[in-house]
Symmetry: C2
Subunit: 297 residues, 2 copies
Amino acid sequence: MHTEARIERALALALARSEARGAPPRLATAVRHAVMPGGARIRPQLCLAVAAACGDSDPALADAAGAAIELMHCASLVHDDLPCFDDAPLRRGRPSVHAAYGERCAVLAGDALIVMAFETLALGAAASPLRLPGMMAVLSLRVGMPHGIVAGQAWECEDWVALPDYQRAKTGSLFAAATELGALAAGADASSWRGFGQWLGEAYQVADDIRDAAGDAAQIGKPTGRDRVLGRPSAVAEFGLTGALTHFERLVERAGEAVPEGPGARTLRRLLHAESERLLPASVRATADAMAAVQVA
Amino acid sequence: MHTEARIERALALALARSEARGAPPRLATAVRHAVMPGGARIRPQLCLAVAAACGDSDPALADAAGAAIELMHCASLVHDDLPCFDDAPLRRGRPSVHAAYGERCAVLAGDALIVMAFETLALGAAASPLRLPGMMAVLSLRVGMPHGIVAGQAWECEDWVALPDYQRAKTGSLFAAATELGALAAGADASSWRGFGQWLGEAYQVADDIRDAAGDAAQIGKPTGRDRVLGRPSAVAEFGLTGALTHFERLVERAGEAVPEGPGARTLRRLLHAESERLLPASVRATADAMAAVQVA
């Protein structure tokens, strides 16, 4: 079965469990809205690609790990879009969860998705229960306090933050979890896989900052220029557009260097290359270059 | 070590982990505010009492389970107090988390506490890793969708809800988790312990409804009369004060009957009796009776 199909099947199963008889219907619909149809599903793809590179000895566990990470990502989007944070009306070109179902359902949908992520991981570990404690510990560490994506988001509530710390926690950590859990699901060591995910995740966040400053709202499915309006730390605010583009290229390079040598290394570097093109399409790079030139002149 | 000390130690350890170097300080303080000083810690006490009745073969796992349940409870209080739900300025006689640290920190503190609960459980399972998958599944089921406390809270967003379904999910389910996880932590079967927790939890919610209608704000540490103001489903709205008091007594009786016979049964029934007195002190019962008499007259 193709990677995409494995991911969608694992997510569909998790959603079906949450929609069993007796579930509050409005929240059930809100949770589904947050997960389907998805975005690029890059994190679970990364997770499955690393599991494959490590031998994929328990594909059901790898699928569960990929789905768990995607559910955590969806939870973070729902809560980040709330009125008290980004107050985003759109996500993936559709109304955000709070815009469609109200703030209360959005808070609860995020909560439900976090729980669903851990549940999915636990249920997927039936054949390899001894791998579960380590995978749970990694997932918690990369999502919660003190350095996970929740902590990353919390830096927006502080008066001062170092940009690398913020981006490492806010986005890098869940990408690191994707590669680490992929390895652990296959019974391999996680530590040698962390760097690849971490660097790619930071590159992803920098690309997001560049698209926010130079992208087209229709193309990326959400409003642009929000970092500036909300005064959020961003690579563009810190380095300027040209500096941010250079920083992005450097991070992608580092991610490539961090791929452990082995049978799957070429496939993973190809995935990295394709993802870097998808993150910053030529059109956005051209716009960014043009805007940077105007700013210099 | 006494039960109370075991619980506080497990919670303190979880908080210390979340406050490690590099944690966003404002969120770290908000998370601590949500957990310390605590309320009655009835859920973890229940968990440890059941673990003891089942032989307490892995006390570290029982402690972790009790702490995990309490952290989930704290998370639900923080999110339920948010402006979009109860908009509660006070909790346990102090400012609620959103009142003290703002709405954004309150959303993230709840998220962090949910993650911390699962993390605490996973780290506590070092000596009995094979018990972890089942415990994770129970904790997820009793917290998330379709029937856990998150689902229970979501019934407040629906146009219509059957009161028993609402109260069973909103409060009963986490009490059920407390008894079930206590049994599982000791390597015992969970199913025979579910009823005890479930009935006690429903009694707890009915007592909360009665205190909301007839209690003294200063005594219970939060504003009263909120169910009526917010139009929330409540046992008092459904059955009147007298009916709610009768319902409470009946639920406590059922909880007592549901305690499995065995060496710990007497201790558990004593705990139930003490808890029922604490939930509805004689003064509140007298006030409720007097108010009911006035309403009838």
